[in-house]
Structure formats: C-alpha cells, structure tokens
C-alpha cells in the first residue's frame, strides 16, 4: 500500500451569485502519489461538490489547472502530494486562483480573458518567407531550431504571468512576450519590423524587471527570462 498523508487545504472560495469570498478549510487523507487535481476531485467526491477548479489534460501539457499554492503559481496536475509536502515542508497548503484574470468561481479564472495578451502578439507567421525552390518545406538547421525550440514548448498556463512582478502594470507578460520572441527567432518570419514594434511597444519587453520569477516557476522548465533578455538585447 502506498504511503498517505493527512493534509490541510485552505482554499480561496468565491461565489459569483452572492459575490462573497471566503477561505474554506478541508482536511484530506491523501495517498502520497495523488496529484493535487486528484486531491481536489477527492474533496468534490467526499466533502464538497460545490468546490470549483479547472483542469483538462491533467499531465502538464494543456496548462488549464494553474493555481497558486503557498504563494507559488504551479499546475495542480503536476504537483504530487509527496512532492508538495517535500517542497513546501508543510502539510498545510493555501490554494488561491491565479491572479491574471477575473475569478469565475473558487479556483477557476477566466483564462479566455488572459489569452487576449497572447492574441495581441499575433502568434502566427505574419509574413512567411518564400517557399523553398523545390516547393516543399523551408530548410531550418537543427542548430537554428535549437536556439528557440525551448520557447515553443510554452503551454500558456500563465503561471509565469502570475509570478511576474510587472505583469499587473501594463506588461504583456512573460509568456505572451516569449511567443513574439519565437517568431522573431523563427527564420521563416519576414515581418521583422512589425515583430519589433510588438517587442518594444509600451507594454513590451522593457516592462520586464528581470526578476526571473518566470523562469523559476515555469512548469515546463523553460528559461523564459533568457528569451526576454534576448529581446532586450536585440539578439534574434
């Protein structure tokens, strides 16, 4: 049998009908290998069906279950109970919704609104390079691809944006800025001027204070601040 822990979850609640907010405490007997999404499901199953939270793929590939645990934005699907206890050195966890969009209910935030920032950087190829003379794919060397492929792994979970000290002050945020950097580094993008306008606009990369919280919290271990630094230096 697996080890289990008795953990306490203090969860921020919000009721959109009454507009009331409160903190509710749940005590859960949880197997060490459960993910935090499993723990939330267990609360729904055994204690409180009204607690709302969000998830989809539940293995860190969609970025729907971002939540703040003891101050750190992370994916609830990625944190196992034993790792939570190990990392935070406690059996008590304070869960809050991400701070990057309005709360819909409890831990569910309106990620649709948060995505507006990503849409602003126009993540498609604005002006694609001419096709290869043979008519098939554009040639990109693995070496070139490697300079930015880490940044393409971003799943827009907005954990970095929640951790960023500048996000709330007119900054597009780390993930959206990085999406623009991907296209600046992509040899197929010819709309360099427009890309640079996005990079250096009023809410652009110079709003970043280089605190590197984005890199620290990224659930995909992407060095987000590295890509923002390249943007500031104009190295792309």
């Amino acid at each position: 049998m697996s080890t289990s822990y008795t953990i306490t979850l203090d969860i921020n609640r919000y009721d959109p009908d009454t507009k009331l907010s409160w903190v509710q405490t749940y005590r859960v007997e949880a197997s060490a290998i459960l993910r935090f999404v499993d723990v939330l499901r267990k609360i729904n199953d055994e204690q409180d069906p009204t607690l709302a939270w969000s998830s989809s793929c539940e293995h860190a590939q969609c970025g729907s279950c971002g939540v703040i645990v003891n101050g750190k934005p992370l994916l609830a699907c990625e944190l196992l109970v034993k790792d939570g206890v190990g990392q935070f050195k406690t059996h008590t966890f304070k869960l809050k919704p991400l701070t990057i969009a309005p709360v819909l209910r409890d831990l569910v935030v309106d990620l649709e609104k948060a995505y507006d920032r990503v849409h602003k950087v126009r993540p498609w190829l604005i002006k694609p390079a001419s096709p290869h003379p043979d008519g098939d794919e554009y040639r990109i060397s693995p070496k070139t691809l490697e300079t930015y492929s880490e940044a393409t792994r971003c799943i827009n979970c907005f954990c970095c944006a929640a951790a960023c000290i500048s996000t709330h002050h007119h900054f597009l945020g780390p993930n959206a800025s990085m999406a623009n950097m991907v296209r600046l580094m992509d040899p197929r993008e010819m709309a360099r001027g427009e890309r640079m306008d996005i990079l250096y606009r009023e809410d652009g990369v110079y709003r970043c204070h280089t605190a590197k919280a984005c890199s620290f919290v990224c659930p995909k271990d992407i060095d987000v601040s590295h890509f923002l630094a390249l943007g500031k230096e104009g190295r792309f």
């Binding site: 049998m1 697996s2 009721d15 959109p16 009908d17 197997s31 290998i33 993910r35 729904n44 199953d45 055994e46 409180d48 069906p49 009204t50 607690l51 709302a52 939270w53 969000s54 998830s55 989809s56 793929c57 539940e58 293995h59 860190a60 590939q61 969609c62 970025g63 729907s64 990625e78 196992l80 819909l104 209910r105 569910v108 309106d110 990620l111 649709e112 995505y115 126009r122 993540p123 498609w124 190829l125 694609p128 043979d134 008519g135 098939d136 794919e137 554009y138 040639r139 990109i140 060397s141 693995p142 691809l145 393409t152 792994r153 799943i155 827009n156 296209r183 992509d186 197929r188 271990d221």
Partner: protein, 599 residues
C-alpha cells in the same frame, strides 16, 4: 430551483464549428483562406483552443514524402487498410494518404516547428504498422515535432484561425443541434461562466469535438472528452458508426494512464515482462514492438493474465515494463523530452536509468459520426444531412475502420479538416441565412431541470466510478457475450441513478457539478452504444476482440450503424466497406482484398 431555463440570445454566423481542436480549426483555416470574410464561430469546452486534446498528441503525423526514394503512398494506403483489419474505407484511405505530404508542407509553411534533419528537412521516425514494400520492413514516415507533435499542430491551426478572425467562444458546450426541414441550422450552446444558453444559427455546422474515452477507468483522454456530440447526433435521430472499436494504447503510464507515446518504441524502446523478456517477438515476429496497437495491447494483457506481468503497489494496478535505458542521452533529452519528464514527475522513475511501468490505456475512438469522404454527415448508409459536417476523431469517414495506426490520427485531423473546410466553402455558395428554428421545447431544458431538481441519495462519484470500472472490465480490450450483456444491464441502472444525483448548488454560473452530471449522462449513453455494438459484432476485428468469437468473420464485413434516439432503444444498420481500390483492379489490387493480417 431558481430561474427558469431560457435561451438568452441568438447569434448568427456562416459557419459554426463545434469543437476547436486540430480538425475543427484546420477546417476553419481552410475556409478562411478560400473564402475570406466568412463569419466563423468556433466553440470549445476549454478556455482556449490551445488547450484542446489535440495538444496532447505526441509522436507524429504520417505522410509519405515524395522525395523519399523508398516510400510510396500505396505502401501507406496498404498499411492503413491492413492496420484497420480490412474495415476502413478505401476511398478515404487513398484520399488521405495521397494528400498527407501536402498537409505537412502546409503546416510547415504556416509556422509549425517540426524537428529537422541535419540537412534542415522535416525529420521522420518509424511508427507501429507503417512499413515499406507492403509490410516488409519499417518505414520512416512519421513527421514529428519532438514528442509534442499535437501541440505543434494545434498551435499552428489555432494561430491561423486567429489570423482569419474566427470568433472563439470558450468554456461552452453545444447541447442540442437545431434543424429546420431536415437541414442543420446551428446549435444551442451553454456557457459555463455565466450559465446561459445561446442559440447560434449558421448556414453550415461542423462537428469536430474529438474523442470520448473518459468512460474507462484508465484513459489518456482529457477530462472533457465525454462524447457529447455523439449524443447530440443520437438525439437528433442520426446514426453513429463503429463505436465498438475503442483503441487501447499499449503504453499508458501506470495509474491514470497518461500517454507514453509510441514514438518511444519508434526510437527503439522495448516492451519487457517481469522476466525482462522482450515478449513482442513472440506475438509479432516481424514488426515486434512496432506492431499495431490492438495487437500489442492484447499481448500485454495476455502476459499479465499468464503471470508474467507486474503489480504496482501505489497505483494498485498490473503492468509490464517499457525499457528506454539503452537509448542515447540525446534521444532522451531532445526527441522524447516531454514523455521523459512525465515519467519522472508522475511515476517517479527516470527512463534513462529505470524500467518504466506501463499498461494499456483507453485512447481513441475509431468510430464516430458517419460521414462520406467529404466530411458530410450521413443520415443513413446513403443519405446526407444538409448543412451538417463532421471531421476529426468524432467523425468516421472512415480512415481507421476498427483499428487505427499510430500517427494516422493527426494525419486525419489535418487532411479531413481541410477536405471538410473545402466542402463547406462549396456548400456556402448556395446557402442562405437560416430562418429561426421551430419553437419546440429544447431537450436540454428537460435534462437540466431533471438534474437541478434531483433529490436522490445517489452520489456523482459513485456512478462515475461504477461506470469506469464496468467499462474497463466488461467492455474493454477483451469482451464476451456474457460480459457485454451484464454491462448493458448495469448501464441501464447507472443511467437511472445518474438522473437522481442531487447537485451541491443549483446556481447556473460556473456550476462544475451540473456540468459534470451532464457529461456523465453523455458518457453512459455512449457506453451503451459501445456495448450494444460490441454485442452485435460476433467476431474479432481490429480493436474489437470477442473471446467467444476470436476470429474475423466475412459475415461482418461492414460498418455498424447504431440509432438510439431514446436511451437503449437501439436500431442497427449497416454501411458497406468501400473497396474501390480493390474493385478498380489496378496495380497491387489483390492486396486490398480481405487479406490475412499478420505482422
């Protein structure tokens, strides 16, 4: 109960796309490209299309590069036919295999970050059942972006749709299709955040909602893959096809069943039993670990049944090993980076040093809403429903028949998405804005009233877990008449129970409980169709395996159509398997007969 249920407002558009994953948005991009200015509304259950299930696909997308001196589209066509256990439609296989490479290039030209060869070309890897020279040796045919190919595709079609100004409505479900004089004119949708119903009237409606395997205890599918649109079709009196064909992916990570891509075996990983014997050599002497998924999943269960499996204490589950220890460090770090990180985080093993515990996981529905080769939804084996289209996993054209080859699903999303988009553009030429639908009471209002007023003692978790255990045990990889009859009986009980589950709150706003109970009812409905189809198909073919009828039987050389307008009021129909390649009597036509399937 609070406020009365009403439709809050009506929106109009040219094209309504229900489901904004790979297939739906490839269709959207095609319409945007070919018919600029088309008003498209795309619905998604999740908060952004980027969070769709497509994004979790890992290994690759099959396509024959015309510059490859060894490979030819006819090999791919043959592999798909053989892989389907002679139950896919040859017109569809041919069409999809012939345009596969064009679509790879389309994705690349629109910004997808494919992995590259040293020459800078798109890299390719081997995959199960994909072979050269009609099954002689492995083909390098799967174009990939590391082990996040689905994400690469999703990001590309999502960005293209944004470019064309597609209006996305997130966090919503379509609860009912709307018809007028037999023509589909849109759908009723329910928005989760505000708890409001909207009517969307459209000249054309495309269903592209993806898969449904959340009724299985172990499943690689996203939380929202609950077969909702299949239920919409059934309620509208339309048939669904081949739902008994459920693919179990051989290598789900022990526990919840997170996908561990076939790309791992494509890169050289080996399945081993408790004695560390590479057991696939006994089951498929030529293809070994790259045999099709149905064969490997059965082999794994066979090993476990005969005492050569292992038992995972923490997850309380049987498994075998997947061995990646001999693969070069470079492969671990670059080509299968995501899956390696999943093993480390979710299972606590390091694939570079440790054997990885895996077991089959419910992964894919081969069947779905029947369409012709243009993505037009069929009302029976012949007729079509004007204004209604379907593509991707939710549809059955059918490229896969009763078993799908790995990397053929991403191929299908993109090719059939484009084909369907093109057909919609044609359709729009003569289409006019629909009139208001006839004012009959909506089915969803009755459903929601039942859920909101339920006062029973049943618990949501109890019904959900009973369903998932039942389907895994009785309607899983191995089936018998006895297990299926039992399952049908229990499903009837579960259906009844599900209508009595009291809700924690009767608010309509962001009510997770209400949403999940609606989904649970859909899962039970779809499960019933799977079980009924499996009971009727008294043979074994592809992923459908009957222990009491272990051989394929020519008497079942057809697609199963099931109509179920009311729960468990089932009528069966048949759709012939398209044999057009065989019938054309061209080169190699004899291989497209009902051939013996060995690997």
């Amino acid at each position: 109960m609070g406020a009365a249920l009403t439709v809050d407002s009506t929106l109009r558009c040219d094209v309504l796309i229900i489901g904004a994953g790979g297939a739906g948005l490839r269709a959207a991009a095609q319409i945007g490209e070919r018919r600029p200015g088309t008003r498209i509304i795309a619905l998604t259950k999740v908060s952004s299309p980027q969070k769709s299930h497509t994004t979790t696909a890992q290994g690759g997308m099959a396509a024959v590069d015309p510059k490859d001196p060894m490979d030819r589209p006819i090999f791919h066509t043959f592999d798909t036919w053989k892989g389907s256990d002679c139950s896919a439609d040859q017109n569809v296989i041919k069409k999809v295999c012939d345009i596969g490479w064009e679509e790879v290039v389309w994705l690349e030209r629109h910004g997808m970050h494919f992995s590259r060869t040293e020459e800078g070309r798109i890299a390719k890897r081997p995959f199960g059942g994909h072979m050269l020279d009609f099954g002689e040796r492995m083909a390098f045919r799967a174009c990939y972006e590391a082990d996040r190919t689905g994400k690469g595709i999703m990001d590309t079609v999502w960005a293209e749709s944004l470019k064309y100004g597609v209006d996305f409505i997130g966090q919503c479900v379509a609860t009912e299709l709307l018809f007028r004089d037999g023509q589909c004119i849109g759908a009723i949708i329910f928005r989760y955040p505000e708890g409001k119903f909207l009517a969307i009237l459209a000249k054309a409606t495309i269903i592209a909602t993806g898969g449904n395997t959340r009724m299985y205890l172990v499943s690689s599918n996203c939380r929202g893959n609950t077969g909702d649109a299949l239920v919409l079709a059934l309620q509208a009196g339309l048939p669904v096809m081949d739902l008994e064909a459920v693919q179990f992916h051989p290598t789900g990570m022990v526990g919840p069943g997170i996908l561990a891509s076939e790309a791992l075996r494509g890169e050289g990983a080996i399945l081993r039993n408790k004695d560390e014997e590479p057991f696939m050599e006994r089951y498929a002497p030529t293809a070994k670990d790259l045999a099709p998924r149905d064969l490997i999943s059965r082999a794994i269960i066979q090993e476990i049944r005969e005492g050569r499996g292992l038992f995972h204490q923490d997850h309380n589950a049987h498994h075998v090993w997947l061995d990646l220890r001999h693969l070069p460090k470079e492969v671990h770090e670059k080509k299968i980076q995501e899956v390696c990180s999943f093993f480390k985080r979710f299972v606590g093993v390091d694939p570079e040093k440790d054997l990885c515990p895996v077991a089959p996981t419910a992964h894919y529905q081969m069947g779905g809403i029947p369409t012709n080769e243009f993505g037009e939804v069929q009302s029976d084996s012949q007729g079509i429903v004007p204004g209604l289209f379907a593509c991707g996993e939710v549809a059955a054209a059918s490229l896969h028949g009763l078993n799908r080859l790995g990397t053929n699903s991403l191929l299908e999303l993109i090719t059939m998405g484009r084909v369907t988009g093109e057909r919609v553009v044609e359709y729009l030429k003569d289409a006019t804005d629909p009139e208001e639908p006839p004012g009959s009471r909506l089915i969803v209002f009755d459903q929601f009233s039942t859920y909101l007023n339920a006062q029973g003692k049943e618990k949501y978790a109890q019904v959900r877990d009973s369903l998932r255990n039942l389907m895994m045990e009785k309607v899983g990889i191995f089936r018998t008449e006895k297990s299926l009859v039992e399952a049908i009986e229990v499903l009837t009980e579960l259906r009844e129970m599900a209508t009595h589950i009291p809700l924690g709150t009767t608010s309509l706003k962001a009510n997770q409980d209400l949403w999940q109970i609606w989904e649970l009812n859909n899962l039970i409905t779809v499960s019933m169709v799977i079980a009924q189809g499996a009971l009727a198909r008294k043979e074994s073919r592809g992923a459908h395996f009957r222990e009491d009828y272990p051989e394929r039987s020519d008497g079942f050389n057809y697609h199963t159509l099931v109509y179920m307008p009311q729960f468990n009021e089932v009528t069966f129909g048949k759709r012939p398997i398209d044999m057009s390649i065989f019938e054309a009597k061209g080169e190699h036509y004899e291989l497209f007969d009902y051939i013996v399937r060995e690997y």
